[in-house]
Amino acid sequence: MSTPHVLLGLLAAGNRHGYELKRAHDERLPRARPLAFGQVYATLGRLQRDGLVAPAGQEREGGPDRTAYALTGDGRAALERWLAEVEPPMPYVASTLFAKVAVALLVADADRARAYLVAQRQAHTERLRELTAVKTAPSASLDDVVAADFAIAHLDADLRWLQTTIDRVADWHREVHS
């Protein structure tokens, strides 16, 4: 995920300081990994260096000074470009999941690879069930639902691949070692 662009997007709604940006990020993208404070400030530093954001005054609320940031004209243009760009459809063949099965087949037998696939399928299924519970809870916001949908659709694709590969693994092993 592109944290710099997400921060630019959050600043498009109005000036914010680092802490507010972190909170807004975690709220808007509830299934994403929470953003670390250090990452927020480091990213803001880079964005400021590149002229995409600018300091917009200090704020003090009984604590240390906090710098609010504003989106610059260049920042808005960069955000618009990013939003208009289609992401390359990634076939995730470089994923750890795939690599692990391929390596298991190289170094061990079909049963070992299959055992991994079966355990992985179980873990995926449990996660799918958790996410389904999150999105169907009466208290779920649309932020939660849409983020859970995204994760569910990807897990679902992985699960289909895991199942098909479980069925193919013996033939695959034979081919690898022929």
């Binding site: 055992a115 355990a119 299924t125 069930r129 389904t132 679902d156 069925d167 013996a170």
Partner: protein
């Protein structure tokens, strides 16, 4: 405690085995997904559990009573009173309105017409399709028909709902809405649900998953058992 049990259930169609010894328990209030590849016996198992088909061997019991030995009439009565069934295509009666379709199981069970209609309207309301009460299936979308079929399956407040690919003919969002309502209502009433599906996303609505393979429960899919027979494609 209310329980639905299958013990060593075997069923064949001619010489083709469909179920080769299935043992399964469903506890009160539990939602169980039965999954597995096409032809693994999912639907046959559902039909045997619901008393629609009689197993060739093994037992199916409901609350301690063996229903596989019951007459067709007795099993049919059970399906009208304690069991509800929902299929992929709602199978609504084309000539009847939504309200008449939903009221049908109650009328068959001897409920008075006015009470049956009141209950039907209330269930259509719960499924969010109250405005379709006087529409016929031909005038409804697939999703609306399936909501009416869900209302019809739940109107008798069954103890068990058997659902065979209930969202299979619907788009993702509509299917999700129908299923969310079905699961919510089932949980409210502590209705057991046996949900047949080949979709992992649908199975995820259940409390647990039973995987079938070649007419048997595939226990190997549930953990780290590596004792799978080698060489299977």
């Amino acid at each position: 405690m209310t329980q639905l049990k299958a013990r060593g259930v075997v069923k064949a169609y001619g010489r083709t085995p469909a179920l080769r010894g299935i043992t399964l328990d469903v506890a009160e209030g539990e939602i169980v997904a039965v999954t597995g590849p096409s032809g693994c016996g999912k639907s046959t198992l559902l039909h045997c559990l619901a008393g629609i088909l009689r197993p060739d061997a093994g037992e199916v019991s409901w609350n301690g009573h063996r229903i596989d030995t019951w007459s067709e009439a007795a099993r049919s009565r059970l399906r009208r009173t304690e069991f509800g069934v929902l299929f992929q295509f709602g199978q609504l009666v084309a000539e009847l309105t939504a309200a008449e379709n939903v009221a049908l199981p109650l009328l068959l069970a001897g409920t008075r017409r006015r009470e049956a209609r009141t209950a039907a309207l209330s269930w259509l309301e719960r499924l969010g399709v109250a405005e379709l009460a006087d529409s016929r299936p031909g005038e409804m979308s697939g999703g609306q028909q399936q909501r009416c079929a869900t209302a019809r399956a739940l109107v008798t407040e069954p103890r068990v709902l058997f659902a065979d690919e209930p969202t299979g003919a619907l788009d993702t969002l509509t299917g999700e809405q129908v299923l969310t309502q079905l699961v919510r209502l089932a949980r409210e009433q502590r209705t057991m649900v046996v949900l047949v599906t080949h979709e992992p996303q649908i199975a995820a609505y259940a409390d647990r998953e039973v995987i079938l393979r070649d007419g048997m429960v595939d226990h190997t899919g549930l953990g780290l058992d590596t004792s799978l027979p080698g060489g299977r494609r």
